[in-house]
């Protein structure tokens, strides 16, 4: 799987390249600035891009802008955005096109290499990987939302994991329950939030994120 990596810190860029190579990815370009990233995305058409929000030369949100621009040109181009901090604002912008194949994670998550590689694969396959912190912020700003308040604590837990992009099986193993139980919980969640139920992990996650996105606006 061909990866374009954009990260301005040499150590992290190098570390990520090693990590990805070790897990069977092919890093076709590891760039360190915004203009380079735009060129690499244009010319190399990778299977997935891993992009730091803040890049030279302006050290503002160049990486994010480049990623959004690339997705405008190539819809649903898989992009995993990394940042030292997560903002609902950015998450909303990334999710706005509703195409999936998007990830937004704190750089800290790189420390857990298995989960990180899992997230990269999920995004490359058209799924989503939202940082737990984004999810909890989205849920917190929906605190006064009545349907959400009607969820049981367990259902809320399942919702958080689901919104992060996990499949039923992954949620089951994380919560130490059977897959059937998770299925029941997700059915309940969809009923309470009045969303059309779906078995497809990606569509299901997008529905939940769209719900959280829309109700808090």
């Amino acid at each position: 799987m061909r990866v374009v990596l954009a990260e301005d810190l040499y150590l992290l860029r190098d570390g990520l390249t090693h990590l990805l190579t070790a897990h069977g990815f092919e890093v076709v370009a590891a760039v360190s600035s915004g203009p380079e990233l735009v060129r690499a995305l244009d010319e190399l058409s990778p299977d997935v891009a891993i992009v730091d929000v803040r890049l030279p030369p302006t050290f503002t949100d160049e990486g994010l802008q480049a990623a959004l621009e690339a997705r405008r040109k190539v819809p649903a181009l898989p992009v995993l955005v990394l940042s030292q901090h997560v903002e609902q604002l950015y998450a909303r912008e990334l999710l706005a096109d509703g195409a999936g194949a998007i990830g937004y994670l704190l750089k800290d998550r790189v420390l857990n290499s298995d989960q990180f590689i899992d997230a990269v694969r999920r995004v490359a396959a058209g799924g989503t990987a939202m940082d737990p912190e984004v999810i909890s912020k989205l849920l917190a700003s929906n605190a006064r939302n009545e349907p959400l308040a009607a969820l049981s604590p367990r259902e809320r837990e399942v919702l958080e994991l689901m919104a992060g992009g996990r499949s039923n099986a992954a949620i089951a193993s994380q919560l130490f329950v059977s897959e059937g139980a998770v299925g029941k919980h997700t059915a309940n969640i969809f009923a309470k939030l009045q969303l059309a139920p779906s078995d497809d992990t990606n569509r299901r996650v997008l529905a939940v994120l769209a719900y959280l996105n829309s109700t808090s606006s």
Partner: protein
């Protein structure tokens, strides 16, 4: 149609009668209010409310009640005391009384009601009573004169009521029902009232001026510097009043007080060549010297002496002229037909009914009321301009001179600089403490863990793995702490996106429903950006904590080289800038940038806080949008 004409005299009589009741009521209310009782101000609203209902029922003119909502009942603090501003109360009755008093007094609708009640018997109420009066008068005259009177009475009924309604609606309605003419008339009327007020105050000023001038000579009355220092309170009140009247700010011109004396090593205080044991005498001497040396003292005195003369020209003459012309030559003519109708008395030549005024014998009879009206209207139309002129005169002597302005500016800069340095030092201390107790400590622990891992890795790989997991957890926690710390120093989203989006991100993270509108044609300079961001953060936190609000809105715009941020909420209001409080902190931090904070928070809400900071915009990146979080 016929019904309207038939009912009009009756309705007019009712409204006219109510206007008399209102007049009596407002007189009683004013007398009662000298005793400090306020309850009746609320009770007496029955009459305007009745008239509002009647106007709706009879004429289809919908006049909503304009009053502010009632203040909420006081809620105790956690320790059981009740707090209002910086005053604590054990029991609620005084607090309730104060809130109700402020609620009624600060509501302009109360004052409009009173004006309406005072004036209506002589204006709209009188007009409304005319049809009934005409019909009643028919009893007194022979039948051939009675019939036209009755017919006229019924015929003009609706017209009289129309006049009544037109007169009453501007008083009884909310402010926004005023048309352009009434709005203008209100401005002019207010200006005329203020001119009259200026006359009254100048009258009080004359003995005061004499007293102060005499006190210059030592030993006659009082002690001049002390009296002048106390007079500053009065002068400042006049400055504020002129500022309010004309909208042109008149700042305080006085030299800043001298810094407190510093003791020598042996504990004495040095002044010139003399040593003082205690500082109080020295402080008093310095205060006296400053008062004498301060030019503003002498300018105050000059103003006080000259003001009555200026008032006579600018205020007294126009007010008297307008009043005399209107009531003496015009208004009396308008109503002259009533006495003429009822008695054989004939007015004096020249239509001056009030014996105080000379008749205008040298003009034709018809010209007298015309002249009266034109002169009164001219004075009325000139009222605003005259008031502005009077304000300019006040500014001439009461405003600071250039050097006084500079002296005050230096004092202000010294103060805000000290504040800024203190804040910055406190901030650095906080960061140091957070790093020391947080990330630094965690890294030490991590280092220890890794050292242990190094020792264990060969003998006990299982234990080493466990320690490694610990180390990784510690590093993750350290990262979280560092991230929070960075957010507190300078939020990344602010550097990445600028003020507008940073505030949007704040709004998204808030538990409230926050609407954000941003109109910034560029990037705000970095220090102002950060200061305003943290100010908005503080305000939004305040709203969430204290205001019991559901919704808030934030408006950010830049014009006239100033950044203006408005934060409003639908909470219960009653916020105040108390020294040492959160709002005061915001105010002080903005003062470093010459920014100001304005608070409008009546009890019962809503609360609006406006921040204004002079600043230029850099790069031409455009960001204009509005969205809800």
């Amino acid at each position: 149609m016929l019904r309207r004409h038939a009912l009009a005299p009756v309705r007019g009589l009712v409204l006219s009668g109510l206007s008399l009741v209102g007049f009596a009521q407002v007189i009683v209310a004013f007398v009662l209010s000298f005793t400090g009782v306020v309850v009746h101000f609320q009770l007496e609203r029955w009459l305007p409310n009745l008239v509002r209902r009647l106007m709706g029922a009879w004429f289809g003119v919908h006049v909503p009640q304009p009053y502010r909502p009632k203040p909420p009942p006081p809620t105790p603090e956690p320790d059981g005391w009740y707090r209002e501003g910086n005053q604590l109360y054990r029991r609620t009755w005084l607090l309730k009384y104060r809130r109700r008093r402020d609620w009624i007094h600060r509501d302009m609708a109360t004052h409009r009601d009173h004006m309406w009640e005072l004036a209506t018997p002589f204006t709209g109420g009188l007009a409304a009573g005319v049809p009934a009066l005409l019909i009643a008068a028919a009893v007194l005259v022979p039948w051939w004169a009675a019939i036209p009177l009755v017919v006229t009475g019924f015929a003009v009924g609706p017209l009289a009521l129309e006049l009544y309604v037109r007169w009453s609606v501007p008083f009884l309605g909310t402010d926004d029902v005023l048309g352009p003419f009434w709005a203008w008339a209100k401005t002019q009327g207010r200006a005329a009232g203020r001119l009259a007020q200026a006359c009254g105050m100048a009258l009080l000023d004359i003995p005061y001026a004499l007293f102060l001038v005499v006190s210059i000579f030592p030993g006659v009355v009082g002690f001049f510097p002390q009296i002048m220092a106390e007079y500053r309170l009065v002068a400042n009140a006049r400055r504020r009043q002129l500022t309010k009247w004309t909208g042109v700010p008149i700042a305080e011109p006085y030299l800043p007080p001298p810094p407190p004396p510093v003791p020598r090593p042996d504990g004495t205080y040095l002044a010139g060549k003399r040593l003082h044991d205690r500082p109080d005498e020295l402080i008093r001497n310095q205060a006296i010297c400053t008062t004498y040396k301060d030019k503003a003292t002498w300018r105050d005195l000059l103003w006080l002496v000259l003001d009555p003369i200026v008032v006579i020209v600018l205020c007294l003459v126009p007010v008297l002229l307008g009043t005399a012309a209107f009531f003496g030559y015009f208004w009396s003519w308008v109503w002259s037909w009533i006495p003429e109708l009822l008695s054989s008395a004939r007015p004096r030549e020249g239509w001056a009914y009030l014996d105080l005024l000379p008749g205008l014998g040298w003009v034709p009879r018809w010209a007298t009321p015309v002249i009266g009206f034109v002169v009164a209207a001219a004075v009325f139309a000139a009222a605003s301009a005259l008031l502005r002129l009077y304000g300019r005169w006040g500014g001439l002597l009461l405003a600071p001179t250039r050097s006084a302005e500079l002296a005050r500016r230096v004092a202000q800069l010294t103060e805000t600089r000290t504040d800024a340095i203190d804040t910055q030092a406190a901030e650095l201390r906080r960061i140091e403490r957070d790093l020391h107790d947080g990330a630094q400590a965690r890294w030490v622990a991590m280092g220890l863990n890794l050292g242990a891992v190094e020792r264990l890795i060969d003998q006990d790989p299982q234990a080493a793995k466990k320690l490694l997991a610990n180390a990784r957890n510690a590093s993750a926690e350290a990262l979280v702490e560092l991230r929070d710390l960075v957010r507190g120093i300078h939020p990344p989203v602010l550097s990445e996106r600028g003020l507008g989006d940073a505030v949007r991100a704040l709004a998204l993270d808030s538990a409230l429903d926050v609407h954000v509108a941003v109109d910034l044609p560029g990037r705000v300079t970095a220090p102002v950006e950060a200061a305003v961001y943290f100010a908005v953060n503080e305000l939004l936190t305040n709203v969430g904590k204290h205001a019991r609000a559901q919704r808030a809105s934030i408006d950010i715009r830049h014009y006239n080289e100033r950044l203006r941020v408005t934060v409003s909420d639908d909470g219960h209001g009653g916020a105040s800038v108390s020294p040492g409080g959160g709002l005061d902190g915001v105010r002080r931090r903005l003062a470093t940038f010459d920014g100001v904070l304005m608070l409008n928070s009546p009890p019962g809400g809503p609360t609006t806080v406006t921040l204004e900071v002079p600043c230029a915009l850099s790069s031409p990146r455009t960001s204009t949008s509005s969205e809800t979080a």
